[in-house]
Symmetry: C3
Subunit: 270 residues, 3 copies
């Protein structure tokens, strides 16, 4: 074990599993089932509710709120704002996944509105989405990253400074940055790009950790490390993307302190 | 085979597979794909339709109607009432899954409204949800059961008496009760709690059996026994929740009279 | 290799994988996750967006548009018309899946309205759905085909003549017809009928091919051949429908020129 890697991720995971926090999701209908199952696999309890009639009450009984704009519409935005305000009042962390920001004006504007009107704890996106929100040049290919001008760490730091939120960029290497600190993480598998929902699941796992770990940077490191190691272990035993998809959940469920210590790979770069 | 276990479940299953009844679902977007696939695996034909413009016509051509409030909103409630009234007029059985009743006022009130305004054949929930509707004390942890004061059989019997519906409570042991009779069932696996949709799938399977078996208690026993045995067989060959999830469907699909007779485990307790 | 089978499907597949076209879906919430994953497995990039605020812009950046009415409502129809008009203006192919046409008036009328108001490149359905739209006698069992009077090739040709669109009927044998030409294809597996989403996935794959191959008949042949061969290979190694479902994606992902040449089975019948 690298002495630089000072965070006791196994202990945080154990606390998460003992606490079994409720994670409220207002999210897209494409990957919502994966989000629910990945939240269960890491040890938390998912709830999904989108009606403005109940989102405030559902958030109140939850320990974290995930907002994902993957298939947004005006009614959903209204509900996200209602739930988000309740979360802010009650100091419940909000994790925003600006899925597809940069692909359409509606998505970009919605993500910006949520960031403006709510106090977002963590924003998780790919480099293109985060660059769009940071108002740096970027190309977004549908919901995937196209060409970008800046490094992921520059992009994350720029948006962290602009918003005060902790920023997570997932990609070949993952970046976590707040205003003062940046980490680079090297777990994960390229197979995640061959299935839908990799980013959305990252947001659900991050929310699960953020619900029991006050420091969003540490929560993010724990989340990306656990999910990234599960990806590496799943990749080794899978003959295609859908077998990988199945193994991903089961490796996450079967994660042990030993596997975490053997594979964790993050460093502070600022 | 226990001589107490007098119901010819293999025969009912065979009839179901030969009839291939259409099961109309108005349900949540989290587990809807699982509901469709589990309905196919047991031998019925799922249809999903939620628009008020078509739910009455879709129910008319169906042999059972599933109402599941897992991700409800006002438009969906309106459609549930329209479809439910058609089902009642045409003597098509309705299976209600009050998913999350007790978690928010909106869910509790909606479940009560559906029970009041419709003639529900079977209500399927966990102990917390059913206790909420029976107005007994209960704690609901998101969409999961928290602490409850009464035994599941007391809870089921209370709601059966209040509503006239047949009540199914799924949990460590399953309970089926109507006004006069109660059964306890001991098939199933704790792995079902590690995936999302276990309850929703139970409702779909129950609806499939209720569409061809007039006695809701017998339909419920057949459904819980078949699904419970599939769970036990899947658990034995699965290394994690998602492999279990896959095997669950395939064990259900491959269920034989022999497997049912070897594993069925229910008793009349009232 | 049959010398009649003159289309270089491996080359078209290679172009598709190198191009990685964006495929915009406005589709149902039952099988949307499968549609996204199958689009990735064949080598394209799925996006899903349904809000009228963004569908035109999302279609503009896409290379094909899938319209699937599996869980339609009036707001979705409005968005389909908006997206479809943009697609027509920009010469982006539209693939319509009239899921459940014939089951309810709402579905039949909606499918007809889309065909009337838009220039649809390819319509993909089962024999019952296509017969309904061709105004031939047919029985639709929920979203499945019941008894039909005409042969699939007659049905496909009738609708092709009526609409000018290329028609694909999937079933025991698949048919592709335009006004002048008809092909019969014999790849595929009956296991596809045991899972939900087989038809929807066919539409996504067809859209992926149509986005890079101008001739809709050739695009359809490539799509049905690739998906059909994946089905046959998956069937051989699967013990039930859900294992089959997993293997289906992975066989599609792992498809090679050799596998295509060894198994392709189509003929021109008109």
């Amino acid at each position: 074990m690298n002495p630089q890697q000072h965070i006791n991720i196994p202990k945080i995971l154990q606390t998460l599993r003992e606490t079994r926090p409720i994670i409220h999701h207002i999210t897209n209908y494409v990957t919502v089932n994966d989000c629910a199952n990945v939240t269960l696999a890491i040890g938390a309890a998912p709830v999904m509710a989108h009606a403005k009639e109940e989102v405030s009450e559902m958030t109140s009984i939850s320990s974290a709120l995930v907002l994902n704009i993957g298939t947004l519409d005006p009614a959903q935005i209204e509900s996200m704002l209602i739930a988000g305000k309740t979360a802010n009042e009650k100091n419940i962390p909000i994790i925003l996944d600006p899925c597809g920001a940069g692909a359409t004006t509606f998505r970009t504007e919605t993500a910006k509105k949520l960031i403006e009107q709510l106090n977002i704890t963590i924003i998780r996106g790919n480099a293109g989405e985060i660059a769009t929100l940071a108002e740096l040049e970027a190309e977004v290919h549908g919901v995937e990253t196209g060409k970008i001008q800046n490094t992921p760490e520059q992009i994350a730091q720029t948006l962290a400074e602009k918003t005060g939120s902790t920023i997570i960029i997932t990609g070949k290497e993952d970046i976590i940055a707040d205003k003062t600190t940046t980490y680079k993480l090297r777990n994960g598998s390229p197979m995640t790009g061959k299935i839908t929902g990799g980013g959305c699941m990252t947001a659900s796992i991050t929310a699960s950790f953020a619900s029991i770990e006050k420091d969003p940077v540490i929560a993010g490191i724990a989340a990306l490390t656990c999910f990234g190691i599960a990806q590496q272990l799943a990749e080794k035993i899978s003959r295609g993307p859908m077998e990988y998809h199945i193994n991903l959940f089961d490796e996450l469920y079967n994660l042990t302190p030993e596997k975490i210590k053997d594979h964790q790979n993050y460093e502070k770069i600022r």
